[in-house]
Symmetry: none
Subunit: 198 residues, 4 copies
């Protein structure tokens, strides 16, 4: 389905569909959003949807994958030149908070996706990638004695938990400035892994 060759206009339509769906899914949830409504919003017949996606489910998975890919790309870009592993972790965390602040809708989708059997798999594997990036830096920090010994995976998930929770509560619900929240997250995590920043 997603491998069909599309014209320029086709690509546009497909993107419209994904954007609108993302918005609606985030606003009212996956189940309460109907295919019909997504189409209506972009002023297209119900049929277009099925020209570009084979099912509502497939569309959602596609959105999820795209988003995870995007976040990861950005983290790589922001981190690549940093040599100290702890600073790398701090930068990665900051990036992820900022990204979530900018993509409120995608963030919500991630939350939901974790709770539905059908998408939990896709989410888990996506999260695994993100988390194991962090875990690698942590392993390096432990080996070089920068932080005390511990299981990198445990720490990486803890970091992930802090970022998610604070982003959701303070950025999305209370609209505090994203960079200040990021500071808090970084501080907590650095303390949590037993490191100090110069």
């Amino acid at each position: 389905m997603s491998d069909r060759k599309l014209t320029a206009r086709g690509r546009l339509r497909r993107t419209q569909l994904m954007d609108e769906a993302t918005r609606l899914f985030a606003e009212r949830g996956y189940h309460p959003t109907s295919v019909a409504e997504i189409c209506a919003r972009i002023e297209a017949g119900k049929g277009v949807f099925y020209w570009y996606f084979s099912s509502k489910e497939e569309l959602f998975i596609e959105i999820l994958r795209d988003a995870q890919r995007d976040l990861r790309r950005r983290q790589h870009a922001d981190i690549s030149e940093i040599s100290d592993p702890v600073e790398r972790i701090a930068a990665g965390v900051r990036t992820s908070v900022m990204w979530s602040a900018e993509h409120r809708e995608l963030f919500r989708l991630f939350e939901f996706a974790q709770t539905d059997e059908r998408f939990a798999g896709a989410m888990r594997s996506g999260r695994k990638v993100l988390v194991s990036d962090t875990a690698a830096h942590l392993a390096e920090a432990i080996e070089t004695g920068r932080i005390p010994d511990a299981r990198p995976e445990h720490l990486a998930h803890a970091i992930f938990g802090v970022s998610s929770q604070l982003t959701m509560e303070f950025i999305h619900h209370r609209s505090e400035p994203a960079d200040q929240v990021a500071d808090v997250v970084v501080a907590f995590c650095i303390g949590g892994i037993g490191a100090t920043l110069p």
Copy 2:
């Protein structure tokens, strides 16, 4: 609805309904579980359901509230006699991890509830209570100079995030022993708030 006076048998029926619903909602999600199925499982007609609950939505909210109440009660019991605020926090965290380990299904329900407009409100207020308990201990710790200055609410949410994430990943998905995971959570959080335990 919930204030109706029930006979002993009535109370039993009601509890059966809630238990079965909890199981099914956790297993396959709220939307994919139909009222008909819940009733079928306890071998009752669909009418029974509407005798005890005015809607599927109400039932779910009731489940949520019960669960939050239960967790809080347990935390109070486990904490009440501890005088050091940091130790109190540690004990509270440990309790919450253990509780989540024992109530896998309720934990999943919490996750979902956060993602649906209809239940997010109920969840937020419930979480607020839990979190503000922790925040109170943190405020005390800050005032008494046990930990460096910071916004208690920020820290409380960070703690909540670590507990949730590690519980989900390591206890529910990977089945690591709950108390060991609790140790990790506690250690990370103590470090995160800048404290040390004797």
Copy 3:
């Protein structure tokens, strides 16, 4: 589905549904008839249908089975007391022509069912039963020297073909009197198997 216990009213509803469906399927075909229409005709909501049948397909198969069972019952009744195998065959053929004359709609359903993969199986097994009844009489006739040797199955199917075709053309399309058509069928078949009637 079909094993649900029904009240008197329930049984009535179910029968109404089957009758109306039979009529519509026969009139315009299986595919062109929608579940919605069947329900509308008996002035019921779309949901009733699915209370009694798990799918449109299941309903059709049920109709088919009922009909085959009915025809067979009637043949048994009409034949049981006849001792000469050839006369038994003649009587059976006559019964089947008369039955088809009376149940024009069911006859049409049989025709269609043969052409659709999903129902061909059910039809084939139903037809097999009918045909093998005839084949048994033929075998007896051959053994007792009443008719020349030949494969009973071949003959039975030939008889089946003659009945079907003449019923369809002359009774259903041209409305000739059923008993006269039955005479023709019997005469042709008796000649076909190489017998003579006293």
Copy 4:
């Protein structure tokens, strides 16, 4: 539509379309086969279809007509030189069985076409032609005293019924050799009309 002047390539495309449609209709039925699928199979856009046929219905009718024409042509060829009417009938029957054996798919299409209002008409008139060819030979046989008096049309339809049924069951389903089945058909029919072959 069908009278449009086509280039060589156009004729090829049109034939491909008909062949593929015949195959698919026979395999899974008329309704379950979509225009899109037919086009996909010959690797053409959906537009092509509507360049050559004005509708799915028209295509099907065209297939039907072509087939009936072909069968009739072949019967004429096989019969033309035979002077005895009974032998002519026997030869015609044999031809029709052999043709059906070779064109399994078309045979299935005929069966279905009879059951759908839209095509029943086309089928009936086609069958009428075939049957009245046979009826003519029968009339001659009756006039010349070769067989006992009876209504030629009745007999012709009976013959048709025997051929169809035995072909379907023994050739198409049980794969018995076509010529042996043809022998059975011929024998039964000769007996049925009260004739004997020298």
